[in-house]
């Protein structure tokens, strides 16, 4: 009799202990995974290394500080404008621009439509936007805006190389 009571108590204690451990695990997981406000997925920066890209150019500056200051003075409503990048991260860039300087305001695209759409948008604010005549080879480096253009099939943003950007 005593033995069966002891066995029942042991089972009960064991069961409650398992429940307690599971509750602790569940609580910890819940705290870590529920955001307070809804957020969208953060997009992985895509530098398009090795691809031939179209570049919309907003200006070339001798130093990063000057480029950053020029970029900060361009207010394009609540939307992302240019990115500050070293000109050396695009092969064939300096030859086309013909202006000395180590840093540039750019936004890179894979399609003509994407580059044209952005250039029109920037110009509508009265800011400079020149689409370089020839594609430049991305050597990687800082993020320069790739991915912010429509996929040719119309389903969403273009997030990978296309035949025109593949050397």
């Amino acid at each position: 009799m005593k033995r069966s009571i002891g066995t029942a108590m042991a089972w009960t204690v064991g069961f409650l202990a398992v429940i307690g451990v599971l509750a602790l695990i569940g609580r910890a997981a819940s705290n870590g995974s529920l955001p307070l406000t809804p957020v969208s997925p953060q997009v992985t920066p895509d530098a398009g290394a090795g691809e031939d890209l179209l570049v919309v150019l907003g200006g070339v500056y001798p130093t990063r500080e000057e480029a950053e200051a020029a970029n900060a003075s361009m207010h394009l409503a609540d939307l992302q404008g240019y990115y500050v990048v070293p000109v050396a991260q695009f092969q064939g860039f300096s030859e086309q621009v013909g202006v000395p300087g180590d840093f540039a305001l750019v936004s890179a695209f894979r399609t003509d439509e994407g580059a044209q759409e952005f250039a029109d948008f920037v110009r509508s604010f009265g800011y400079p936007a020149t689409i370089l005549a020839n594609r430049v080879r991305s050597l990687g480096g800082l993020y320069a805006g790739l991915g912010q253009e429509r996929n040719l099939d119309g389903t969403g943003p273009l997030q990978g190389p296309i035949p025109e950007s593949t050397p």
Partner: protein, 203 residues
């Protein structure tokens, strides 16, 4: 106990007031109808999608950012200060129904082009819609890698020249913001972006 005598003046009022009320009740709808007819506009409220809350609902209702529907409809919106007529593009579920304002371009509702814009015109508020009017653009929110609601064509910036981002007060858009709110839109003043109106909450 005697009731007070009614004077000729009060008797006359007693006859005139009901007649005046009846006349107003009859004339008011006629005048409103004439006003609408003159502008060629009706507030139709056809086929509005429910305003989404959060990223998942936005995608479920309007698709992926930058999809081809996001810029399927366009409309002409003249700014009152610089004479420029802007052509914002937006999602086909927010307009394009064959109405007085636009031709059918495959859209499904009367929301932005007919109802919001028409209502602003009809309330004589177009004087407050000033330069800097943009709709769809496949772009992130400034300084982030988070898609702007503009990338779905469910946002429009108005009077950008007068309503700088970061300002928590409004100069001109406050005069017609109620029209957007009445049609399911959220005003960006809630997050200190008074030029911005979006058809989404929780994002």
């Amino acid at each position: 106990m005697s009731s007070p005598e009614r004077t000729p003046r009060s008797r006359r009022l007693g006859r005139v007031v009901p007649v005046a009320i009846a006349a107003v009740m009859v004339l008011a709808p006629v005048l409103v109808g004439w006003h609408w007819a003159k502008l060629g506009w009706r507030d139709k409220h056809y086929n509005y999608p429910a305003t989404p809350t959060g990223y998942t609902q936005i995608v479920n209702r309007f698709g992926q950012p930058c999809n081809s529907d996001a810029s399927a409809i366009s409309m002409s919106w003249p700014a009152s200060d610089n004479g420029v007529t802007y052509t914002p593009r937006f999602h086909k579920k927010l307009g394009g129904y064959p109405t007085e304002m636009v031709s059918n371009k495959g859209g499904k509702s009367t929301n932005l082009d007919n109802d919001v814009y028409g209502h602003i015109q009809n309330d004589h508020l177009s004087q407050y819609t000033k330069s800097g009017i943009w709709g769809y653009l496949c772009r992130y929110i400034s300084g982030t890698t988070k898609w702007s609601t503009h990338a779905w064509g469910i946002a429009i910036d108005i009077s950008a020249s007068y309503e700088p981002q970061g300002s928590c007060t409004s100069t001109v858009n406050k005069n017609f913001a109620y029209v957007f709110k009445q049609h399911g839109w959220r005003w960006g003043l809630d997050f200190c972006d008074p030029m911005h109106f979006q058809y989404a909450y929780g994002y």
